[in-house]
């Protein structure tokens, strides 16, 4: 068996096992169980982290606009899926809002209740992604000409402008101003999240391994050489930015699903920072790393370290120290240690299939040593 075939089988096997575990979890545990919650949130974070990695890790564009594109995706999802009869109560300060249709209901009419609702929800996610991509195109025109840190601050600025915009009362009939969007349909089980995010990530992986993905990496490694070898910098940077934002938009929609309510507040720059730090923990330039780090991060913050906030951790009871917020302090200290001393993160730029490489190489070295 060739090594590439072996790798494919290994990867497929790992993914199949993970999916099976997820299905079993769904069948045995109620949807409010912490395991299900962790899987849902971590999957959404994985998708967004991978989309950020595509841009920051693989194309070398240091953008901090992720939260803005997620915000757009989340709002698009909410606005398009709230059932018509619930709109009066959701948009109570805006006369029931300006939009009087709901995608899941439209599709239900044609495809039957269950299928129609799901198709409608997916369509809403897609619209969110497309809006984010369109916005990225527009923002990219001026912003992508900027170099590293200027790009970071400009994208951060755009995300902030967008947040102010969505809270603007004049747009209230659509965005509900500074009030919550709620009552929209969402998947209660974890498996749909995993499948959806999994498919999206698979597309990103395919892209990264295609000729375009290689061009992105060339831009990251040496822009001047890339341009001299016929790679149109503006075009490729814009592509990476648009694609990354598209998936961030979809990730935002899924985040809305997971959260149950939508407001502009959670989509602050802190969210972008959080995702960036996840990417760093996993290893800049590793998809596997981003996913692994998302799960570890969410698992620790939502579950493992919860005791740090609640007074008791690992059997040690110290309510005066282990109070609200301590968990995040511990987590951010760990992150700083990784940032400072383990700069390659968990995976460096290795992927899941590369794990198979390690042993044979060692053996080779030993053989050479003898």
């Amino acid at each position: 068996m060739t090594s590439s075939k072996k790798k494919t089988i290994f990867t497929a096997a790992v993914l199949a096992v993970l999916l099976a575990v997820c299905v079993v979890v769904d069948m045995t545990l109620p949807s409010y169980h912490i395991v299900v919650v962790v899987i849902k949130k971590a999957t959404v974070y994985s998708l967004v982290a991978v989309s950020m990695n595509l841009l920051n890790g693989f194309t070398g564009l240091f953008s901090l606009g992720q939260a803005g594109f997620m915000l757009l995706g989340a709002y698009a999802y909410g606005v398009l899926t709230i059932p018509v009869d619930k709109r009066a109560s959701v948009y109570q300060y805006f006369d029931g809002g300006a939009i009087q249709f709901s995608l899941p209901e439209i599709f239900s009419g044609a495809l039957g209740d269950t299928v129609g609702t799901v198709v409608g929800m997916l369509a809403a996610l897609l619209v969110g992604g497309i809006l984010a991509a369109l916005l990225a195109y527009l923002i990219g025109l001026p912003v992508l000409r900027l170099k590293s840190d200027y790009l970071a601050i400009a994208t951060l600025g755009f995300a902030e402008i967008l947040r102010a915009f969505f809270q603007w009362n004049t747009l209230g009939p659509i965005t509900n101003g500074s009030n919550l969007l709620k009552s929209y349909p969402a998947f209660s089980h974890a498996t749909p999240y995993v499948i959806l995010a999994g498919l999206m990530i698979a597309v990103i992986v395919l892209l990264i391994n295609s000729t375009y993905g290689r061009a992105f990496k060339a831009i990251r490694d040496d822009e001047v050489a890339a341009e001299a070898m016929g790679i149109n910098l503006a075009h490729h940077k814009r592509l990476a930015f648009i694609i990354s934002s598209f998936f961030a938009g979809i990730g935002g929609g899924m985040m809305a699903m997971y959260m149950g309510t939508i407001a502009a507040a959670p989509f602050k720059s802190t969210l972008t920072y959080e995702i960036l730090l996840i990417v760093v923990i996993g290893g800049i330039g590793s998809i596997t790393g981003s996913i692994l780090a998302s799960f570890l991060y969410i698992f620790s913050s939502e579950w493992l370290l919860r005791g740090l906030d609640a007074g008791k951790f690992l059997g040690i009871s110290a309510p005066s120290v282990f109070k609200n917020g301590f968990r995040m302090v511990v987590l951010s200290v760990i992150i700083m240690i990784i940032v400072l001393f383990f700069r390659r993160g968990l995976m460096g730029d290795k992927e899941l299939p590369d794990l198979l490489d390690r042993r044979p190489k060692k053996r080779e070295k030993e053989a050479a040593g003898k």
Partner: protein, 280 residues
């Protein structure tokens, strides 16, 4: 009369008060190997950068295969230097980015090797094929371009065989020894399917034996790929050994041109390299 591949016409490149290239005129015909030499700081690399679109010349034009690809006219800041000289000659501004120039059929290497560090030898060459790919991002992502990709990979393997790097194709580009990195840069440039190959000091840092090998190699690839070669070099053995014609720059100005034998006996060239004694 042989076919003209590259023509540089009255090219001037000025950075603030420094005139790096001063009214340069130069022609290269199909199949020739032409060298551009001169003391350090003479403006050779700047000339390359003008030709490949990295810099927009302050004045002048560049013709490639009979077509004007770069043009600028002396407005404002140039008026003092060439007052009235080029009025009306250039009326348009043509400023393609380097990638467009490469797509037209030029490819270059760099003086200070610029390989893609995190990529393997194979991928370094394969990436240069990207500009010849007809697939869009969608068809590439969903692997609708399998045939093209396979053909590209085959071509890259062939190229690596030609330059003798096939056995290290899966190594990281930066793990290669210096001489091989230079060869890899040439292979990468060839992957872009150029008509004109520009080599910026290809023998820099090489020992005499490596330089001899490189000299032979440049001749080989010229014949094999039907290339025209334009090179900058300091190793006179290499330059005199393979060049059909030589241009000499000094302080941005062209001071001589001719066959290797003519250049070797040109007094101005000798002065430029050795300097002229004050009391002479």
């Amino acid at each position: 009369m042989s076919e003209n591949v590259l023509k540089i016409e009255n090219a001037t490149m000025q950075f603030g008060g420094v005139v790096a290239v001063d009214n340069l005129n130069l022609e290269i015909n199909r199949g020739e190997i032409v060298a551009l030499i001169g003391p350090n700081g003479a403006g050779k690399t700047t000339a390359f950068n003008v030709v490949t679109g990295v810099y927009q010349p302050t004045n002048g034009a560049v013709w490639f295969q009979g077509e004007k690809i770069i043009e600028n006219h002396p407005q404002g800041k140039m008026k003092k230097l060439y007052k009235g000289q080029h009025d009306g000659e250039y009326t348009h501004v043509l400023a393609p980015t380097p990638d467009k120039v490469t797509k037209l059929g030029m490819a270059r290497t760099f003086q200070n090797i610029r390989l893609w560090k995190s990529q393997t030898v194979f991928d370094n060459v394969l990436i240069a094929k990207h500009c010849r790919s007809t697939s869009n991002v969608f068809s590439a992502t969903f692997r609708l371009n399998r045939k093209e990709e396979a053909a590209q990979r085959e071509h890259v393997a062939e190229l690596l065989n030609t330059v003798g790097l096939y056995d290290v194709k899966d190594e990281l580009a930066t793990s290669l020894p210096y001489g091989k990195q230079r060869r890899l840069e040439i292979a990468r440039a060839l992957a872009a399917e150029p008509k004109l190959l520009l080599l910026d000091e290809p023998a820099a840092g090489m020992n005499p034996q490596e330089t001899d090998e490189l000299t032979a190699f440049i001749g080989e690839i010229r014949d094999k790929f039907d290339l025209t070669v334009f090179l900058i070099e300091h190793h006179m053995n290499l330059v005199m050994g393979i060049s059909d014609r030589i241009y000499v720059l000094d302080f941005g100005k062209l001071i001589a041109e001719g066959t290797p034998a003519e250049i070797q006996n040109n007094q101005r060239v000798i002065d430029a390299y050795l300097g002229v004694a004050d009391d002479a």
